[in-house]
């Protein structure tokens, strides 16, 4: 067996252990807490990043992080990236060998978010999703490490009953700097974009705590930057932007509930060697390896 094969077995074992361990964890935590990063404003090209753009893969009432092995029990999700993902959280060959809907063909990770619904409750199909991987605020880019194999996390709070911080969940028009609490009427020629910023500090141990997010935190900009003591491992800060047609914002909701419940999920099923290479080449070296428009 090659090293890659052994790594996958280790990864599967670790993932399974983490899943089992997490089942006993408290359900009290609903977000990653900590002081979120200030929103990124201004042009791309200032901060190191690598980017991936993905088409919609599929829609399903599945959620392998929050409702593992409970097929059809979730609210409706839009899945981007890995085309094989369903409710099964197994980090295994089925997932690793799956096709992707992303332009970066080695990005077989899965990204998902609740479906956007119009006033009649019909799904508004997204145009695309862009994923930006960057160093978090106050984090030394050279210290950022790749997500471990099988790592899972949630950005935003699906149970939020009031507006979340625009540093984490926001709506904009296209790639513009303006961030709004709710969808607005965007000009023709642009898109309505949902932005979700994921936590970027890890406890270094658990691959997931299901939807609880106890294993991750946001880096803190008023804590002299960097990651908090209990979550000392800096990960790439993942920001995703999901673009929709510039629809009438009246009556829009998410499949998770009110528009305030914006959130998204990430499961690292990247080709791990490729992910490690991109983190090393782009983030650790503090370089811009691509931009989106």
């Amino acid at each position: 067996m090659g090293w890659a094969g052994r790594r996958r077995i280790i990864g599967a074992l670790v993932a399974a252990s983490a899943l089992l361990a997490a089942c006993g964890s408290s359900a009290a935590e609903t977000n990653a807490g900590g002081d979120p990063d200030p929103e990124r404003r201004g042009p791309q090209g200032r901060v190191a990043q690598f980017v991936v753009e993905c088409e919609l893969s599929h829609l399903a009432y599945d959620d392998p992080i929050v409702l593992p092995w409970q097929a059809g029990k979730s609210h409706l999700h839009m899945f981007f990236g890995n085309r094989a993902v369903n409710s099964d959280p197994g980090y295994n060959e089925r997932m690793l060998s799956a096709e992707t809907s992303c332009d970066q063909r080695r990005d077989t990770a899965s990204y998902w978010a609740p479906a956007l619904l119009n006033a009649e409750g019909n799904v508004i199909e997204p145009l695309k999703m862009s994923a930006y991987y960057r160093p978090g605020h106050g984090v030394d880019p050279a210290e950022v490490v790749p997500y471990p194999e099988g790592f899972m996390m949630v950005g935003g709070d699906s149970t939020a009953q009031k507006t979340q911080s625009s540093d984490i969940v926001a709506w904009s028009c296209g790639t513009g700097a303006a961030r709004n609490d709710a969808p607005t009427q965007c000009p023709d020629g642009t898109s309505l974009r949902l932005i979700i910023v994921f936590p970027d500090c890890w406890d270094g141990e658990r691959l997931t705590t299901f939807g609880a997010s106890a294993h991750v935190r946001y880096s803190s900009f008023d804590n002299e930057g960097g990651c908090p003591e209990a979550h000392p491992v800096p990960l790439p800060q993942l920001t995703i932007g999901i673009d929709y047609p510039p629809v009438d914002p009246t009556g829009l909701s998410l499949a998770s509930g009110d528009i305030t419940t914006g959130h998204a999920d990430f499961w690292n099923v990247w080709d791990q060697a490729k992910l490690e290479g991109e983190v090393a080449m782009c983030i650790n070296r503090d370089l811009v390896c691509g931009v989106t428009s």
């Binding site: 303006a178 000009p187 020629g189 998770s256």
Partner: protein
């Protein structure tokens, strides 16, 4: 142009840029009853049993060679692939500054990353040394911040992003490159300075065959390239400052040469680019891959949306459905900063990088093309105008552009060289024969859609020269690229045969 027209134009531009919007509503969903709140679930008992597998894992190493792999580079500083190193990446990783990696003919399914300064990657045969991404790998050769790297005399094709890509490189050169059917650009230099792209060919990319962007001053040169059947022949967002595009051919793209401004990347605006001595023709090609901007700019030879202080001179430009040379505004919806004021145009890229964006950022920006000089070009067979200019937020006559000594038949507005000569005061009526950019921008809604870059039909490449003495010439790192072009010594090129 009045404000009302500007608004209308903005609407049209944005509509055009959008392409067809989708109203395809999926079937209604059942009411959402589940949330992502942590849910006490039955403890999962399933685990994924370790899967014993030796399933082949794709690597980015070449698949066609089985040569032994050396770990130490030869003492003569020449690393042979595949004779000494099975993969180009292996040789790159073993190379020291000044080394030459000499690649023999073969197909290399690699995405090569370069982080070592001053190395040269050279094919011994331009057409025979083929880096092929097979539409799975991202970049043929990606140079990441390394200084003075040279990539020459090889083909890079079928990559999902770029054939050859330099990012944040000080000193770079791409010579005798054939870049075909790559998903973004053929040869792409971003945030890089002191570079040169020469004797190269780019075809079949939805963005541009050749690109230099986010640099000021760039101190860079594009010389003797052919770019065809791309969305754009050349594109350069927010670049300029001793940036020269010369002695090249841009033909049969959607649009030819398109330096442009925008706040979505750093170093705005685009300014101080010299476009001289090029042949630019027939950029109306309907069956190419194309990004939205290429659809918008289709049918124009040299067009500078929001460009400033550019010199466009001594080019031979012909056969365009819209204009031969056009200075037009660019509407940017979703701005990331406010517009730079004229006194900020000279701020270098490094300084701008340290400046935070404005506290108040408008929803949109209108970048006007200002202070450009269009001289001594030979332009013909333009269906709208050989040379055109138009302002939207500013009156056209206040943009400060000038025109003189061009061989032309018609302009928009009419008699442009009398209205805005480069020497002396202009006179005449700016309202006669205006471009009416609104009218031809409407056409974009009916523009032929982009063709998937993987399947778009491409012509056979023309006969492309090999680098002289590729097997024996010493490596010359790109550490002393000096761009000092005597524009006066360049003539308008002769018409191509046929």
């Amino acid at each position: 142009m009045n404000r009302k027209l500007a608004v209308a134009l903005a609407a049209v531009i944005t509509l055009a840029a959008c392409g067809s919007s989708s109203d395809d509503a999926a079937p209604a969903t059942d009411a959402a009853v589940e949330t992502d709140a942590p849910v006490e679930t039955d403890a999962p008992v399933e685990t994924d049993a370790p899967v014993e597998t030796d399933a082949p894992v794709e690597t980015e190493a070449p698949v066609e060679t089985e040569a032994p792999v050396e770990t130490d580079p030869p003492s003569d500083g020449i690393l042979h692939v595949p004779e000494d190193f099975a993969a180009i990446q292996d040789a790159v990783d073993a190379a020291a500054p000044g080394d030459l990696i000499l690649v023999s003919p073969g197909t290399y399914n690699e995405a090569v990353n370069v982080v070592t300064d001053e190395i040269t990657i050279r094919g011994t045969d331009r057409a025979g040394v083929v880096l092929d991404g097979e539409f799975e790998l991202d970049n043929g050769v990606r140079v990441l911040g390394a200084k003075g790297v040279v990539v020459e005399n090889l083909t890079a094709q079928n990559y999902t992003s770029n054939g050859v890509f330099f990012t944040s490189s000080v000193g770079y050169r791409a010579s005798y490159i054939t870049a075909i059917r790559n998903g973004d650009y053929g040869v792409y230099a971003f945030d890089s300075i002191n570079g040169q792209i020469d004797n190269s060919y780019g075809a079949g990319s939805p963005d541009a065959g050749f690109y230099i962007g986010q640099c000021f001053p760039c101190d860079s040169l594009i010389n003797n390239v052919i770019s065809e059947h791309n969305g754009l022949g050349y594109s350069g967002t927010n670049s300029g400052g001793n940036l020269v595009i010369m002695n090249s051919t841009f033909r049969n793209n959607r649009a030819g040469v398109v330096p442009n401004s925008g706040s979505y990347e750093l170093c705005y605006p685009e300014r101080d680019t010299t476009v001289v001595g090029n042949i630019v023709h027939s950029n109306n090609q309907a069956d190419t891959p194309a990004i939205d901007v290429a659809l918008l700019a289709m049918g124009n030879g040299i067009v500078a949306p929001g460009g400033i202080d550019n010199l466009i001179t001594k080019n031979l430009v012909f056969d365009h459905d819209k204009t031969g040379i056009a200075l037009v505004p660019f509407l940017e919806e979703g701005a990331n900063d406010d517009l730079p004021t004229p006194d900020e145009w000279e701020i270098g890229c490094a300084e701008q990088r340290e400046e935070p964006p404005a506290d108040e950022i408008p929803e949109s920006l209108l970048w006007e093309a200002q202070n450009n000089s269009v001289t001594l070009n030979v332009v013909s067979d333009s269906r709208v105008a050989d040379i055109a200019v138009e302002g939207v937020s500013m009156a056209t006559e206040e943009l400060g552009n000038c025109f003189g000594g061009n061989t032309i038949t018609n302009t928009a507005p009419a008699n442009l060289e009398s209205l805005a000569p480069c020497d002396g005061e202009g006179s005449g009526d700016w309202t006669v024969g205006v471009l009416n950019v609104l009218g031809w921008l409407i056409d974009v809604e009916n523009a032929p859609p982009s063709i998937d870059y993987q399947i778009a039909e491409l012509p056979d490449p023309p006969e492309l020269e090999n680098m002289p003495d590729a097997e024996t010439a010493p490596a010359v790192p790109a550490t002393n690229i000096v761009v000092d072009i005597d524009v006066d010594a360049i003539d308008v090129p002769a018409a191509p045969a046929g």
